[in-house]
């Protein structure tokens, strides 16, 4: 500690005297405690040509700071900074004495409650007020309430639905609805529909509003936890309260505010955890690492973009661990245990939370619904009603004589189909075809989707006991039920994908084109138990490939559509690359042929099939879970479409456009997601300002000009590590998205930007006060900040009608608020 103090003194004197060159002796005695400083000194020494033994222990290799009892670097610094700051404001200069005399505070995990002072309560209160007033107005469906409200209803009814985001947020909404006695009977047809009288709108909107209100104190606590003054915290929290975009986003049945809250909780927990990094496996250590990982999981389970917060947390944990690595007194083994236990907790718990949310999701949604057709047959059949009511009781084992429909398993829902039409002799591009019967993949149930499985060497079709079951590797023919032609393939280019091979139903034109209608069944998802029964082809459950025997190509669904001659159905072709999802098929409907006397009876049987109920299909949780994950991944990628209010990430920092959420039918009252332009632009500016100041500091330090005291600089860097990194982690990835984005995707990054802004304002004030040491300048800065706050409040009051959405506005009023050309407020009434 003594040495540490000394270094501070030296640092201070350097600053005061603004020396460019440092004397040799000073360097030797000053064990700078931080690594950048260390590197600096090293360079310096090389230049001054000091040839010394490295093992001399002069602080060259490792700071010889004596171990502290708690070994806690960052936390200590944090508390110290607050104190020195207070003293600074009185004394102007800092000295080592202040620091040394400061007694160490005992750490306790639950100490926050003491700090949760008046300020936290006050901030929470004003954000509660702003978020809760007139919460049930407008009493119409606003923007995505249409989706999330609908999903909540579907939960309450237990009807299956598919959404590309994880279920937790919607589950919480549904829970609120459940407690309010809502039964899920409102339809949420489209934006603007009024809610019925009995709909518990208040309760459903209360959840996001509460979460939104909690964001404010959390932001305050985060800044406090980084050792910044209460002023910085209060300023940032005030910005959160006064921002119209965050306000509007929290007032409706939307998920962002929940996700943001969990994400910020996770960050807060990491910061709390960092205090205890020096006391591994202590109460506080365990508690906060647990809190971090649980909140990470929660954020991620509400919306996938919570993943960026998880990355940020992991990054911060790694940073803190990295600092700990330099402590020589901690043994390698202990470090290893610390690291692996952190890593395991951080990985496992979020996954548990995520999977758990899906477990609840799938155990609630047991009935068939509108999105069924997106899922595989097996999934659909496991739901009550829907497909399961059709396939219940159909025989399981596919055998010679089975009548089946073959569904394209993954991706677009369609069934192998053929009909009494042939491929045109010549296509538009001049290529010729075989002129045989068309085969396609058709998205609707149709009698032409039925095929009969046949052994090549048997002629009768009726199924008798014992079953002649088809197994993996068996060769079969597929006969089209209505036309009695066999599925065929040959070396002719497919209609729409010329690099693939054509698939037809064979017609013998006697033109030396022999039929090649043998197909090998390959079961993809067979369990390799080796048992004979596992190799049997089963309806619904077995996923198969049909490999054309002569050419060794697999039948596949192609996303291309036939033109008019093929009725715009999907192309089916054979591809030599077997290993792709589009070559996988499964039997959906299935029954045995009973009578095979002649063509007529067969056809009649196809039309009037009867079904005998048997046991329903059962899928385990994990099977369903993985299928959903794959589907969500694919759907997320597919989501590329135009939306009137979509925006590019590049536009976000400049608040180019908002999103119209709702417009009243009979006036210009509207909800429009648009930020508070004062805060928004100041935020963008401070990101630039922070980077510039950092670069200036670094360049100056490289030339050994220490403009600000060492601890102020360290604080500047460490705060940037959290806030600037937070901003970048939540913003930069969007630049690489290839899908429709909205400005509300920016909000979490924006919160980090706000915190950075607050920090920067306080930092500039401190520089003016303590480093430049001009009282009048500091006052000027303070006055500037106050004016800025007043302006922000003015903007907030002006724009707030767009958040609350029930003030009828005249056209000219709306126009007068259109401060940027690109803002598209809706004016449809005078």
């Amino acid at each position: 500690m003594v040495q540490l103090g000394k270094s501070e003194v030296n640092g201070g004197s350097q600053v005061r005297s603004r020396k460019k060159k440092v004397k040799e002796s000073e360097v030797e005695q000053a064990p700078l405690k931080h690594l950048d400083a260390l590197e600096l000194k090293q360079k310096l020494k090389e230049r001054l040509d000091i040839r010394e033994q490295r093992s001399y222990g002069d602080g060259d290799s490792v700071p010889s700071t004596p171990p502290k009892e708690n070994g806690d670097v960052s936390g200590d610094e944090a508390t110290e900074t607050i104190i020195t700051k207070e003293s600074c404001s009185k004394k102007k200069t800092r000295s080592g004495e202040t620091k040394r005399s400061e007694p160490k505070k005992p750490h306790h995990p639950f100490v926050i409650s003491v700090q949760m002072d008046f300020m936290v309560g006050f901030l929470f209160l004003i954000s509660l007020i702003t978020r809760l007033v007139f919460l049930d107005l407008p009493r119409n469906v606003v923007f995505d309430e249409m989706h999330y409200g609908k999903y909540a209803s579907l939960y309450l009814k237990g009807t299956f639905f598919f959404d590309a985001n994880p279920p937790l947020g919607k589950l919480i909404l549904a829970l609120a609805g459940y407690f309010a006695g809502y039964e899920g009977d409102f339809e949420f047809q489209k934006i603007g529909v009024p809610y019925p009288e009995n709909f518990p709108l208040m309760t459903l909107r209360l959840i996001p509003a509460l979460c939104g209100s909690l964001i404010t104190p959390t932001v305050y606590l985060i800044l406090g936890e980084m050792g910044l003054s209460n002023w910085a915290g209060a300023l940032a929290a005030l910005m959160v309260v006064l921002d119209t975009a965050i306000l509007a986003q929290s007032r409706f049945i939307l998920l962002e505010s929940m996700m943001m809250l969990f994400a910020l909780f996770a960050i807060l927990s990491v910061l709390k955890f960092r205090r205890f990094a020096g006391a591994p496996f202590s109460m506080g250590w365990c508690f906060w690492i647990l809190m971090t990982s649980v909140n990470m999981g929660l954020a991620f389970s509400v919306k996938f973009i919570g993943i960026y917060s998880c990355w940020l947390c992991s990054f911060l944990l790694l940073r803190s661990f990295w600092k700990r690595l330099s402590l020589k007194q901690v043994s390698n083994l202990q470090l290893f245990f610390e690291f692996s236990s952190q890593a395991v907790l951080i990985c496992v718990i979020p996954i548990l939370v995520y999977v758990g949310s899906f477990y609840i999701h799938l155990s609630i949604l047991t009935k068939a619904g509108v999105h069924d057709s997106l899922m595989t047959s097996a999934f659909q059949a496991s739901l009550e009603g829907g497909l399961s009511s059709i396939v219940d009781g159909q025989p399981k084992v596919i055998a010679h004589g089975s009548q089946i429909t073959l569904r394209h398993t993954h991706g677009k829902t369609c069934w192998l189909h053929s009909h009494e039409h042939v491929y045109p002799i010549r296509y538009d591009d001049g290529r010729g075809s075989s002129h045989q019967q068309q085969v396609s993949c058709y998205s609707y149930k149709d009698v032409n989707n039925w095929w009969i499985v046949k052994r090549p060497d048997r002629e009768d079709l009726a199924v008798h006991e014992p079953l002649d079951s088809i197994k993996d590797g068996d060769t079969i023919q597929l006969v089209h039920g209505m036309t009695h032609r066999a599925l065929n393939s040959h070396d002719v280019a497919a209609p729409m994908s010329p690099h693939n091979q054509e698939i037809t139903c064979y017609i013998d034109y006697n033109i030396s084109m022999a039929s090649e209608n043998l197909w090998k069944v390959q079961i993809v998802n067979m369990d390799n138990s080796g048992e004979e029964s596992a190799r049997v082809w089963q309806s619904i459950g077995s996923q198969i490939r049909l490999i054309h025997v002569n050419t060794n190509q697999a039948m596949k669904f192609s996303p291309r559509l036939y033109p008019e001659w093929g009725f715009h159905q999907n192309e089916v072709a054979a591809d030599k690359n077997h290993d792709q999802l589009d070559t996988i098929w499964n039997v959906e409907e299935h029954r045995y042929t009973k009578h095979d006397e002649d063509k007529r009876t067969l056809e009649r049987e196809l039309f009037n099939a009867e079904l005998i109920p048997q046991t329903p299909t059962y899928l385990s949780f994990w099977q369903k879970f993985w299928e959903l994950q794959v589907k969500m991944l694919i759907t997320n990628q597919d989501n590329v479409q135009n939306h009137n209010y979509a925006s590019y990430p590049g536009e976000w920092p400049f608040l180019v456009r908002g999103i119209a959420y709702f417009i009243s039918k009979d006036s210009n009252a509207q909800v429009h997601l648009i930020g508070n332009i004062m805060i928004w632009y100041t935020g963008t500016l401070s990101v630039l300002a922070y980077s510039t100041i950092l670069i200036i500091y670094l360049l100056r330090r490289r030339r050994l000009c220490f403009d600000v005291p060492e601890d102020v600089f360290q604080e500047f860097v460490e705060v940037g590590e959290v806030l600037m990194a937070g901003y970048l982690f939540h913003f930069v990835p969007f630049l690489f998205y290839d899908r429709t984005l909205f400005i509300h995707h920016y909000l979490l990054a924006y919160v980090f930007k706000l915190m950075l802004t607050a920090f920067l304002m306080v930092h500039i004030y401190e520089i003016a006060m303590n480093v430049v040491s001009r009282k009048w300048l500091a006052r000027l800065v303070a006055i500037g900040v106050v004016c800025w706050i007043l302006a922000t409040i003015y903007v907030f009051v002006q724009m707030s009608p767009f958040c609350y959405g029930f003030f009828p506005m005249s056209a000219s009023q709306v126009k007068s608020l259109k401060w940027k050309d690109t803002w598209d407020f809706i004016i449809h009434k005078p």
């Binding site: 460019k20 060159k21 690594l35 950048d36 260390l38 590197e39 600096l40 090293q42 360079k43 310096l44 090389e46 230049r47 490295r54 093992s55 290799s61 490792v62 990295w322 690595l325 330099s326 020589k328 390698n332 729409m496 994908s497 192609s558 996303p559 291309r560 008019e564 690359n577 290993d579 135009n642 009137n644 360049l699 490289r702 030339r703 050994l704 690489f736 290839d738 690109t822 598209d824």
Partner: protein, 721 residues
């Protein structure tokens, strides 16, 4: 971190000091280098004339070379240098530009293609010596340099990609050249502002300029050099024995040579490009009317028409978006169920009588041209903010819009031709906005960008860029878009017929170089962004590349060429990338833990890590960005990254070898060393020998047939040869 940096810089200076006396530029060095270069030349030039037909993308780049020789304007998404080089070489070696390069597989017959092939091959052959020299500058170790040379030499993929008339050999030449000159320049860091220092700095600038002028991928090597330069400047900045003015001098020298020079070079090349290609060609359609007016042979060239638009004039309107068509209408109605059954309005890419419209006032009919009224009427200019109607000349219907959804873009409104003999209703009125114009500005032919706002619907006339079905003759949809900022809503007047006004020649309004330069870039970027994979097409994904998952056919028939990296080298590269990362992290942790090595080990280690870090950055810069690209990607995009990866392998391999040698008895060192070298070179040579049929031509039997000569080479199923 700081620790490592400190160590690094210390070792760095140590390296530089030790380098001068120990520098092993004796006979041994020259023998190794010479042997590699000679063998390299032999492998590259062997069978360079085969196959005697167009291979793969030669069809594009050969064709573009021909266009340079023929001076015909074309459009391509890449900058011009590579194609200019091909054209120039072809011209010099006696190719006359007449071969059409229609599709892969076309026989060259007696066209002189060999010059272009050999020139590309020779540039590609430089990669091996460049790799050797780069590693030499980085490590000063013959062993490592030889490894790098041999790895580049025996990579079948590099051989194949660099043997044809493609942009890749040229690009790779500039990329590896930039890397080499960067490290070479750095080696003179103790003699700043000397002649060699300046020479290598300028060479680096030229190489960078070349790289970016061949393909935009060159940007990544510029980033690499940029980062390296920043690091150098940081070192110089920290040197307190030098005044700050020294830093500024260093900075300015680099800014001039590494920023200004490449930019100047790039612009110059573009200038030449636009000067050389003065004849109208198939690329015209991508460019705006004013751009086209500068091309000899284009209808707009030397055309003369009134400068300003007046009421009563007969005009055609061209959509201002890239490749935009003309506003068009024809005597056919929208079919049942597609909005109102009124006359179709579309955009059409070709010149046609049906593209002509008369500009009328919103409340007045225009007198027929040459009629008495026309002669009497005063000339009335169309200005910003005027209300107009557009009457289709042939069918006499007005362009009209109403609150029906457009046929394809359902969120926009339908646009129709409406009315009888020019009399329609209030929904025919449009308001003219000149983009960037103000009250009183007159609409100018060709140069004014205008938007047409529907007066009542508050939407703009837009070409939505979507194709109509058969009933619309597959022309493009026109809609009225409520999002008035849509970039597709810009139009310009192309033909303007009004005899009363004096005609002016468009030569005078042809854009200058700067605007043509900017427009070319807008078009190129749009073209690049538009290269999206089509649904159902097979597209190569970045994860497939390092593992050599799937190659690319260059040529078929009985001389089949299949682009595939040498799997031994490529798979080895992955392992060494992993090894390097692990070593680096491990060393960082050790340093952070305060671990210390002996000075000798320390020097060797930090030298290796220093070289490794930059090569790794080079690899990452040329590979990682592809993950974020939405455009169509190909296997050959990985080759620049592979170049760095191979060099990294060489460096790490030598380090491992040295470490092993460190632990074995002195007597055995030589034996082990030579055995190792023998095995290494032997394995690579053998694998090259095995896979060389891929480069020098395989017979026609596909590889999956057991009787094929390359059947035993089909190690994984996804290789398609």
């Amino acid at each position: 971190m700081a620790q490592i940096q400190a160590n690094k810089s210390k070792a760095y200076t140590a390296k530089m000091k030790s380098s001068s006396p120990v520098k092993n530029t004796g006979a041994e060095w020259w023998i190794v280098f010479g042997a590699i270069v000679l063998f390299n030349l032999w492998t590259r030039l062997h069978k360079v004339d085969q196959p005697e037909w167009v291979c793969w993308d030669e069809t594009h780049f050969g064709k573009m070379g021909s266009w340079y020789i023929n001076r015909t304007f074309f459009f391509d998404v890449h900058p011009p240098l590579g194609k200019m080089f091909i054209g120039a070489v072809g011209y010099v070696t006696g190719y006359n530009g007449t071969f059409p390069f229609e599709k892969p597989g076309d026989l060259y017959h007696d066209h002189n293609y060999l010059g272009m092939r050999v020139a590309c091959t020779l540039l590609g052959a430089c990669l091996t010596p460049f790799s050797f020299l780069t590693v030499w500058e980085l490590t000063q170790s013959i062993t490592a340099s030889a490894f790098a040379g041999v790895l580049a030499l025996f990579d079948v993929g590099m051989l194949i990609l660099n043997q044809y008339i493609l942009l890749d050999p040229i690009l790779l030449f500039f990329i590896s050249g930039s890397t080499y000159s960067m490290v070479k320049f750095r080696s003179y860091h103790e003699r700043p502002f000397s002649v060699v220092w300046w020479t290598w700095l300028i060479i680096t600038g030229f190489m960078l300029g070349g790289a970016i002028s061949v393909k935009f991928v060159g940007l990544f090597v510029i980033l690499l050099v940029g980062l390296n330069t920043i690091e150098q400047l940081w070192e110089i900045l920290g040197d307190m024995s030098q005044p700050i003015s020294n830093v500024i001098k260093h900075f300015l020298a680099r800014a001039a040579c590494l920023i200004a020079l490449p930019i100047a070079m790039y612009i110059c090349l573009f200038f030449i490009h636009l000067q050389v290609l003065y004849k109208s060609g198939n690329g015209d359609g991508h460019f705006s009317s004013s751009f086209q007016s500068a091309l000899v042979g284009n209808v707009l060239h030397n055309a003369s028409m009134p400068r300003h638009l007046v009421f009563g004039a007969i005009v055609t309107l061209k959509n201002h978006r890239t490749g935009g068509g003309y506003l068009h209408s024809h005597f056919h109605l929208y079919p049942e169920g597609v909005g109102a059954r009124q006359q179709q309005v579309t955009t059409y890419a070709h010149k046609d009588e049906n593209n002509k419209f008369i500009v009328k006032k919103w409340n007045d009919e225009a007198p027929k041209i040459y009629s008495d009224e026309y002669e009497k009427a005063e000339v009335d200019f169309v200005k910003h903010g005027d209300l107009i109607r557009l009457e289709h000349v042939i069918t006499k219907r007005n362009i009209h819009s109403h609150a029906e959804p457009a046929p394809i873009s359902k969120k926009q409104f339908q646009v129709t031709g409406y009315g009888d003999d020019g009399i329609g209703d209030a929904n025919d009125v449009w308001k003219v906005e000149i983009v960037g114009g103000s009250e009183g500005d007159v609409v100018e032919t060709v140069t004014s960008k205008i938007k047409l706002h529907h007066y009542f619907m508050k939407c703009v006339l837009t070409c939505s860029n979507k194709q109509l079905p058969k009933w619309g003759y597959e022309q493009q949809e026109i809609s009225c878009n409520p999002t008035v900022r849509d970039p597709n809503a810009l139009w310009n007047v192309e033909d303007n017929f009004y005899p009363k006004l004096p005609n002016v020649s468009f030569q005078n309004f042809a854009p200058g170089f700067v605007s043509r330069f900017l427009e070319s870039h807008a078009v190129m970027f749009q073209g690049n962004a538009g290269l999206k994979p089509k649904e159902g097409d097979y597209t190569s994904r970045p994860w497939e590349w390092p593992i050599n998952f799937r190659g690319q056919f260059f040529s078929g028939n009985d001389h089949r060429i299949y682009l595939l990296g040498n799997p031994v080298i490529w798979w080895g590269n992955i392992i060494f990338l992993g090894l390097f990362t692990a070593t680096y992290i491990w060393n960082s942790i050790l340093a952070q833990r305060g671990h210390e090595d002996s000075l000798e080990i320390q020097t060797q280690k930090s030298r290796t890590l220093y070289a490794g870090v930059w090569l790794f950055i080079g690899w990452a810069l040329h590979y990682v960005p592809f993950w974020a690209m939405g455009r169509v990607l190909y296997f050959h995009h990985y080759f620049p990254a592979c170049l760095f990866s191979s060099m990294l392998t060489a460096v790490i391999l030598e380090y491992i070898l040295n470490t092993i040698l460190h632990f074995i008895p002195e007597k055995l060192v030589k034996v082990v060393y030579h055995t190792f070298i023998g095995i290494f070179v032997g394995t690579l040579w053998y694998s090259f020998h095995l896979f060389s049929p891929l480069a020098y031509g395989m017979e026609a039997t596909p590889g999956h047939m057991t009787n094929s000569s390359v059947h035993h080479l089909k190690w994984i199923a996804s290789w398609e040869f």
